[in-house]
Amino acid sequence: MIAWKIGGDQGEGIDSTGDIVIHVANRLGYYVYGYKSFSSRIKGGHTHYKVRLGTHPIQAATRHTDILVALNQETIELEGSELQGGVILADSAFSPVLPPGLDAQLLALPMTQMAKELGSGLMRNMIAAGASAALMGLGIQPFYDYVAKRFGTKGAEVVKANQMALQRGYQALSESAHTLKTTWTLTPPIPADRLVMTGNDAVALGALAGGCRLMCGYPITPATDIMESLVKWFPSVGGAVVQMEDELGSITAAIGAGFAGARAMTATSGPGLSLMQEAIGLAAMTETPVVIVDTQRGGPSTGMPTKQEQSDLLAMIYGGHGEAPRIVITPSSLEESFEDGYEAFNLAEIYQTPVFIATDLSLALWQQSIERSYVQNPVPIERGKIVKTFGSNTSEPFQRYAFTADNISPRTLPGTPGGQYLATGVEHAPSGKVSEAPENRARMMDKRLHKIQSIHSRRQGFLVQGPANADLMLIGIGSTAAVNREAAQLLQQSGIAAAVGWFRTIAPFPHELFASATQGSLHILVVEQNATGQIAQLIQMQGLYDQRFATLLKYDGVPFLPEDVAQYAQQLIASSMEVTH
């Protein structure tokens, strides 16, 4: 495994350089994971992009860096400490200095100068990429191929120029190779057919495959990509993206479309979620399907728009006034993101209610490898109880909200003769007509709140990997579940029988499954990226948080690292042994 990082100022092409490295590595058959740190500004300000590549799946960041490409001195100062014996590949243009005490080798290459020689300062990053290729022993040809693909539409000259820059960097590094104290030779990868994408990509692809043809949204970090991807893809499949005037409009348009029978969605982050609360209640009350993606970020208020957090869980579940059914599903990997991307629409139509796909910034934005076979098309599409025609003796008005055994009533889509009804956010009788009758009210509340419970027989709301009688189970959600998976490997390496458990459905809470799945574990550590332990609170509410449970929280905007989780878990086990023995 190699951890490669590039750092510099925002707007200097850091992103595209990282993208090239990650894609080439993936094409070679390595598993890749990319992590970026960026600020809520467009140009300027330190940013960095880290790529991990190896022969086993990687789903999280790590502290250690092997190779650091530094485009300015600030990068060396800020990121240098991650290197223990690695190499800093710096542009000699800024006269890089290795700060005292830093355990790394500094290799300065005249990147800017070489780029100028090639006629464009913009080529600096390609030179860095070429040099990196040599340093990591990846070969230069795959890089040539990738830029040919990537810049193909821009013309042969652009491709040529980029390839030349790659070549110059590759060559320059190769010439200095003998001075290197460390070199890397990766195990050759097993050939595979993988793609590189983010969680947002996976959700958007899932939605597309799942028949979503309308996306009404309003830009917001880190959700905007979903809208931007769909607006590119939809024209070829007949769908539409509407950039609305705000999130109140976005969700309501999606609900209107759901009422009229389209699979429609919106995607947002915290501030938008808050604005959507009222309308989500409308969808629940009118029993209208709608899918909302919440890519969580640092809150509250504008908070930390470009930083990782998982602090909207309670707001998704409890955020609206009154009491309404809300399904919240929680993918923790690209595979699950794709799956939930289409399954959310099935759930929304089967249960006729709003469904949240809750992700988080880390899962939403960082690229990873995924087997192409996983991103399949077609996917299962289930539209739930839809009445398409009525007999000729349809004199009876349609009972849209009829009480049924499973609490789900057949619905009609506008256009169906005889199926007309009133969908209203006001309490209503089975016919849809407004009703304040106490008995009807209570039954309708029960109907709506109970109908979603059967979701647990449809999907496993809580998954576990690892020994049934674990010394320790690490519980997570979204991207922390992935961190936990790597942390558990580390723990296993130090002889601890560690398991990981993660939620696939957080609301309605998978009570039975959670209780039984956690039963055998001696210690249970809930790892959450928020300040108040929202998952722990939800477990508490179920009366399931007993003395075996502990919580590890982080709310500084920086994702958990597997090694830190593992270390904390080890201490926890150690200290509890002190206490009990």
Binding site: A257, A262, L413
Partner: protein
């Protein structure tokens, strides 16, 4: 062909006797018959207010949404199924207070939606507070010494906001009102029909009598040119919007027809199928 009866429901109306909203309901039902609409392919999106109850009394596909959000919901309905006739209906508070943002953006977006605002210059359902169209000096429960704000001028805003069809009717002038609604529905694009619909309980100032005395019927003015935005604005300013009739119209292509590659058949009946080549082409970007 559907008849007037087909558009009626069993539900008895909850409006106060004499409320202007009865007239709006009647005209709307007549207009639906006249354009040859069918209950099953008509979708009515109503707001919250006395006005918003109108959906309860019309046999069609109706959704009664949250306060102020009829227009985004209507857009969603239209995009989900372009074969539907889509109408949004609500009060002046619903439209021009909490719904103002959506109103302005619906004008410029120009999807094929007919928007009927039942304008009584007051908040009816919450029992008589100032509304955006209340006149300065109007006494209400929230302005006991008279409103101190300038009223919103919905027609001017619509014209200035890029509307392609702007009309005003009066709930007592049934034939004209029904006719304006028909023309609104026949217009390709977004049509606003602001309807003066007196509230007999909370607005004793802007009464039927008062309107009958002050409203001028523009449709009867042969010199009026309804194709010029600037002239419409001038006339509206001069008359303080106390006019009825078709105020402005321009030929337009509705929003849904401009969306690149957008399906003409209802999304509602789409099976989600994607050709394998298209899917593979899409995945290329992730290679």
């Amino acid at each position: 062909m559907a008849t007037l009866q087909d558009f009626k429901t069993e539900e008895k109306s909850w409006w106060c006797p004499g409320c202007g909203d009865f007239g709006v309901l009647a005209a709307l039902q007549k207009a639906l018959v006249k354009v040859g609409a069918e209950p099953a392919t008509t979708a009515i999106i109503a707001g919250i207010g006395c006005s918003g109850k109108i959906g309860n009394y019309i046999n069609s596909y109706n959704i009664h949404v949250t306060h102020g959000r009829t227009l985004p919901a209507a857009l969603g309905v239209k995009l989900a199924n372009r074969t539907l006739r889509v109408l949004a209906v609500g009060g002046d508070g619903d439209a021009y207070a909490i719904g103002m943002g959506h109103f302005m953006h619906s004008l410029r977006r120009n999807a094929d939606i007919t928007y009927i605002v039942m304008d009584n210059h007051v908040y009816g359902l919450t029992k008589g507070q100032t509304s955006p169209t209340s006149e300065t000096g109007f006494h209400t429960k929230t302005s006991p010494q008279g409103s101190i704000e300038a009223p919103v001028h919905p027609l001017m805003l619509a014209v200035a906001g890029g509307a392609t069809f702007v009309a005003q009717g009066f709930s007592s002038w049934q034939p004209q009102l029904a006719d304006l609604i028909v023309r609104g529905m026949e217009h390709h694009g977004f049509s606003l029909i602001n309807v003066i619909s007196p509230c007999v309980t909370y607005n004793r100032v802007n009464s039927y009598d008062w309107y009958k005395k002050t409203l001028v019927n523009l449709d009867e003015d042969p010199t009026y040119d309804r194709s010029s935005r600037a002239r419409a604005l001038t006339r509206l300013e001069e008359t303080d919007e106390l006019v009825t009739g078709l105020i402005y119209q321009e030929a337009s292509t509705p929003y849904e027809e401009k969306i690149p590659g957008f399906l003409k058949t209802p999304l509602a009946h789409h099976d989600g199928h994607i050709a394998q080549e298209a899917w593979d082409a899409l995945l290329e970007q992730f290679e």
